[in-house]
């Protein structure tokens, strides 16, 4: 597959550029580079959650198990990227703020996403029957979706945060050196591509497993 190779070269090349070519931000110093990994990972975390919840709602509307495959696979990947974002953010917080964890509103919201993913996957693993698992997991996912805007957008606005403005900020612009911006957006695209590539693989595996299961039952 040519896309896989291109993705590898793209991400590897831009990571090299992040270390060799892009300048450092004065105050942040060496910790500037966390932004090329932390923000794309956080972005994929939110994207995966939205993807999972969208397919959960679609499953409830259409009752097609392929939507459930997408919802489950996106949640699994989302948990992985969420751990990456949390860990890299925590390391950065130790370097900049002096402590690994301080319940800053942004730390609270990423931790909340971690809990949602974990609870969703725990719920899935506790139901044997396929159709019921898909249905109940989708219902839980839609309920959790109501909580997301409250914790991601409302709570950080009410309480004081030290976190630098997130990508989607109230002023709606990105303050960055042009070279940092190029590397950052390239890696954002790279991480997004990585997510969709692995998602496709995971969905295919789920489909094959189901076909195998039904073939076994038929014989």
């Amino acid at each position: 597959m040519i896309w896989r190779g291109l993705l590898l070269v793209w991400i590897a090349g831009w990571i090299a550029a992040a270390f060799l070519w892009a300048p450092l931000v004065p105050v942040l110093g060496e910790t500037t580079r966390v932004l090329y990994f932390h923000i794309p990972a956080a972005w994929v975390t939110v994207l995966a959650l939205a993807w999972s919840m969208l397919h959960s709602a679609l499953y409830l509307a259409k009752r097609d198990l392929r939507h459930d495959d997408h919802a489950a696979a996106a949640a699994e990947l989302g948990l992985l990227f969420c751990v990456v974002a949390t860990a890299s953010g925590s390391l950065w917080a130790k370097a900049m703020w002096g402590s690994y964890w301080n319940w800053d509103p942004r730390e609270t919201s990423i931790f909340f996403l971690l809990l949602i993913y974990a609870a969703y996957l725990a719920l899935r693993s506790s139901i044997d029957q396929e159709e019921r698992r898909a249905r109940l997991a989708a219902v839980y996912s839609v309920v959790a979706f109501v909580a997301v805007p409250f914790l991601i957008f409302v709570v950080p606005r009410i309480y004081f945060t030290l976190h630098p403005d997130p990508l989607i900020n109230p002023r709606g612009r990105v303050d960055m050196d042009p070279r940092i911006r190029v590397v950052f957006f390239a890696l954002l695209a790279g991480f997004t591509g990585l997510f969709y590539w692995v998602l496709g693989l995971r969905v295919r595996v789920a489909r094959l497993e189901r076909r195998l299961q039904s073939d076994l039952e038929a014989t």
Binding site: L115, A118, A119, L123, R132, I158, Y159
Partner: protein, 224 residues
């Protein structure tokens, strides 16, 4: 499929009455929940002593006790139906939304009963009466409604899984986190003399959003 798909007031009222009656016959759910709430309250109070001048810690402790009591008991309403194998019958005679509303009101009543015992005791043990009762009660009330709304829908999901009770706390906690954050902050503001409007708005908006989405979803909850 229910024969009569009415979610009328009468059906909700009948479900609520049935819940209260079957709870009152055994009272084991209520007794266990009250005992649990008292246990966690005693543990907290015994561990920290009197905290008259620390409203920040008081608010957090109060809501931790209430949250634990809710997590320990509110899945009961649905789990009991599944374990007693009465859910199918219930679904035959009432529409899903009527069942949901009835259970929600019962859970709210249950929570209020627990709070009527726990909260005064907490205030006495900690030696810190709230300076502004209306604000304190308003935060407590909206927080309880949001708590009951979240716990009811998660309880309905959980009752159909293998883990049941064990999974309830884990699955409900992420949904309850906004409630906990806003309620603690509101109660703290009330103790330290700040405004609680923002928290009250947040709590009631969250409760309404949860209620609306769960009413939409109850039709999908029971199908097999």
């Amino acid at each position: 499929m229910p024969i009569e798909r009415s979610s009328s007031r009468a059906a909700v009222w009948a479900i609520l009455r049935k819940e209260c009656r079957s709870e009152w016959r055994t009272r084991y759910g209520l007794n266990a929940a009250l005992l649990f709430a008292l246990t966690s309250l005693t543990a907290v109070s015994f561990a920290v002593g009197r905290l008259t001048d620390r409203p920040d810690i008081l608010a957090a402790l109060l809501w931790v006790v209430l949250l634990f009591a809710a997590l320990a008991s509110l899945s009961h309403a649905f789990v009991r139906e599944v374990e007693g194998r009465t859910l199918t019958l219930l679904r035959l005679v009432a529409a899903p939304t009527a069942i949901a509303f009835g259970k929600l009101l019962f859970n709210l009543l249950f929570l209020i009963t627990i709070e009527l015992v726990t909260v005064p005791l907490f205030l006495v043990l900690m030696g810190a009466p709230p300076p502004r009762w209306p604000a304190f009660v308003a935060v407590l009330a909206t927080g309880s409604v949001a708590l009951a709304a979240a716990a009811t829908v998660v309880g309905a999901i959980i009752s159909q899984t293998r883990g049941r009770g064990a999974l309830f706390a884990g699955a409900a906690f992420p949904i309850l986190l906004p409630v906990l954050a806003a309620a603690v902050s509101g109660t703290r503001a009330q103790w330290s003399g700040g405004a609680v409007d923002g928290e009250l708005r947040l709590l009631s908006a969250y409760a309404v959003a949860l209620l609306a989405i769960s009413l939409l979803l109850y039709d999908h909850l029971w199908e097999d």
